[in-house]
C-alpha cells in the first residue's frame, strides 16, 4: 500500500502546483549554465538545498507523530533558507499541500497554520503512514523530476533521454534519503548551502520572462 501511496503523492497530476516548479533550472540556464551540466546540477541540489528540504520533512514527520510543536521545525527551516524567494515559493507550495492534507487526511486537533512545503509534506507523511525515508525520497524525487521535466519545456529535447537521466539519478535520491531519514530534532537539520543556486533563484524572481515560478 505505501508504495502506491508514495507514487500517488509523487504524481505530478496532484493539484499542488508542481507544474510551476523547475527546481531552479530555469534560473540556472538564465545564469548561463550549459544543459550538459544538468545531472551535475541536480546532484549538487541533492547534496545541499534539497537535502535541507528533505531533512525538514523528515523532522516535521517525527514532530507531528510526537505531537510536538511544528513551529520550531518551521523556524529551523527558515533559518536554513536565506533566500526570501525560495521561502515564499515553499510557502506557496505548502498551501497546496496543506489543502490536500486537510481534505484527504483531516485532523481536528490543529489550528490552521501556514507551513512550508517540507513541513506540510512531513505532516502528510505522518498522517498517511509514510516512513521518514519515504518522505525524504519523495522530496528528492520531486526535485529531480521538476528539473528534468522543466528541461523539456525550456530546451526541447528527447523525452526518452530525459527519462533515462531521471532514472539514473534515483540512486542519488536514495543516498540522500539515507543520510536524513533518522533525524528527529530541528537542530539536526543540515544547513548545506549552495551560493550560486540561491543567488540565481533571487535574480530569476526579478526577471519578467519566465515559464516557472522557481
Amino acid at each position: 500500500m505505501s508504495g502506491l501511496l508514495l507514487a500517488f503523492l509523487a504524481d505530478v497530476r496532484l493539484p499542488v502546483g508542481t507544474h510551476t516548479q523547475s527546481a531552479g533550472l530555469e534560473a540556472a540556464l538564465q545564469a548561463g549554465m550549459p544543459i550538459s551540466d544538468l545531472a551535475s546540477y541536480v546532484r549538487t541540489r541533492l547534496g545541499t538545498v534539497t537535502e535541507v528540504e528533505a531533512a525538514t520533512a523528515v523532522v516535521a514527520r517525527a514532530t507531528e507523530l510526537a505531537g510536538d510543536d511544528l513551529a520550531r521545525v518551521e523556524r529551523a527551516w527558515a533559518a536554513r533558507t536565506p533566500s526570501r524567494v525560495l521561502r515564499d515559493n515553499a510557502l506557496q507550495l505548502g498551501r497546496g499541500h496543506g489543502r490536500l492534507l486537510a481534505a484527504l487526511w483531516p485532523s481536528d486537533d490543529r489550528r490552521p497554520a501556514r507551513h512550508c512545503r517540507a513541513v506540510a509534506l512531513g505532516m502528510t507523511a505522518a498522517r498517511a503512514g509514510l516512513s521518514g525515508h519515504e518522505v525524504a525520497c519523495l522530496v528528492g524525487y520531486d526535485d529531480v523530476q521538476s528539473a528534468t521535466s522543466a528541461l523539456l519545456k525550456l530546451e526541447p529535447t528527447d523525452p526518452v533521454q530525459v527519462a533515462a537521466l531521471t532514472r539514473d539519478l534515483i540512486p542519488d535520491v536514495v543516498a540522500m534519503a539515507d543520510r536524513v531519514a533518522g533525524l528527529t530534532e530541528p537542530e539536526q537539520i543540515p544547513a548545506h548551502a549552495a551560493p550560486h543556486i540561491e543567488m540565481w533563484a533571487e535574480r530569476h524572481a526579478h526577471t519578467t520572462e519566465r515559464l516557472f515560478r522557481a
Binding site: 529551523a76 533559518a79 536565506p82
Partner: protein, 230 residues
C-alpha cells in the same frame, strides 16, 4: 588559549577586557559606550595545525568595532587548522566587524566556525571575504559553519562545504575563487538593487558577491550604507 575582547559600557568610559594569543587585540579608540579594537597577528597565522579562537562579548548597550589591518592567509602543510569565532551581544549591543580577506592557500585544510548570539535589539554587521588560492593557485579546503541565534531561536544557520571538488561544482561556486559576504543581523537594512541580497526570515540580510578575482568594491558600497544604520 583564545583571544578575547569584552566591552562593557561605563559612565565615563567603557571597561574593555582584552586577552591575546597569536592574535592580539589592540585598542584604537574608546567612547563612553564602546571601543574600536584592532586584531593583530603576533606571528604568522594561520599555519597548518593552528587552532585560533576569538571570543567577543559586548555587554548590553555596548558598542564595539573590530578592524583587521591585514588579511589572513591559511597556509598549507601537515595537519588541519581551525578558526573559531564566538560572538555574544547583549540587549541593544552593536558589533561591527570589518574583516579582511581570508585566503585559503593550496594544501590548507581549514574549518571555520562562527557562533553568534544576539540579545534583544542588538545589531551585528560582519563581512567575510573568502579567497581560494594565492595568485595562480587553485586553493585548499575550507568548510564553514555559521550558527546565529536570537532570543527566540535561530536567525541563520549555514554550512558551506568549500573543499576544491565540492566548491567547483555547478551551483556552488563553479570556477569562481572569491565568495564575499556581508551579514547584517538585528534589523532590516535597505539593499542596493545591483547586488544579490537575501532578506532573512528574521530581521537581517545577507548580501553575496561571487567573483574570479578579489574585488572589494561591490560590497563596499553596501557596507558603508549599512554602517550608517548602526
Amino acid at each position: 588559549m583564545r583571544t578575547r575582547i569584552q566591552v562593557t559600557p561605563g559612565p565615563d568610559r567603557p571597561q574593555v577586557e582584552l586577552r591575546g594569543d597569536v592574535l592580539a587585540p589592540r585598542i584604537l579608540a574608546t567612547t563612553p559606550d564602546g571601543a574600536e579594537v584592532a586584531i593583530v597577528g603576533t606571528r604568522m597565522v594561520l599555519l597548518a595545525g593552528d587552532s585560533v579562537g576569538i571570543d567577543v562579548v559586548v555587554a548590553p548597550g555596548g558598542r564595539l568595532r573590530i578592524v583587521e589591518p591585514v588579511g589572513t592567509v591559511a597556509y598549507g602543510g601537515p595537519g588541519s587548522s581551525q578558526w573559531d569565532v564566538s560572538i555574544e551581544l547583549g540587549a541593544g549591543a552593536v558589533l561591527e566587524w570589518e574583516s579582511q580577506p581570508f585566503v585559503v592557500s593550496d594544501g590548507a585544510d581549514v574549518t571555520r566556525t562562527t557562533r553568534i548570539s544576539l540579545g534583544a535589539d542588538a545589531r551585528l554587521l560582519q563581512r567575510e571575504t573568502l579567497v581560494f588560492g594565492r595568485s595562480g593557485q587553485r586553493g585548499g579546503s575550507l568548510v564553514t559553519r555559521l550558527d546565529a541565534s536570537g532570543v527566540d531561536g535561530p536567525l541563520l544557520v549555514e554550512e558551506l562545504d568549500l573543499r576544491p571538488d565540492q566548491r567547483e561544482r555547478v551551483g556552488i561556486l563553479g570556477d569562481n575563487r572569491v565568495l564575499d559576504s556581508l551579514l547584517a543581523l538585528g534589523w532590516r537594512p535597505g539593499t542596493p538593487a545591483d547586488l544579490t541580497a537575501f532578506e532573512l526570515s528574521e530581521p537581517g540580510c545577507l548580501v553575496r558577491h561571487v567573483g574570479h578575482q578579489h574585488d572589494h568594491r561591490p560590497l563596499d558600497v553596501c557596507w558603508f550604507r549599512w554602517h550608517g544604520d548602526l
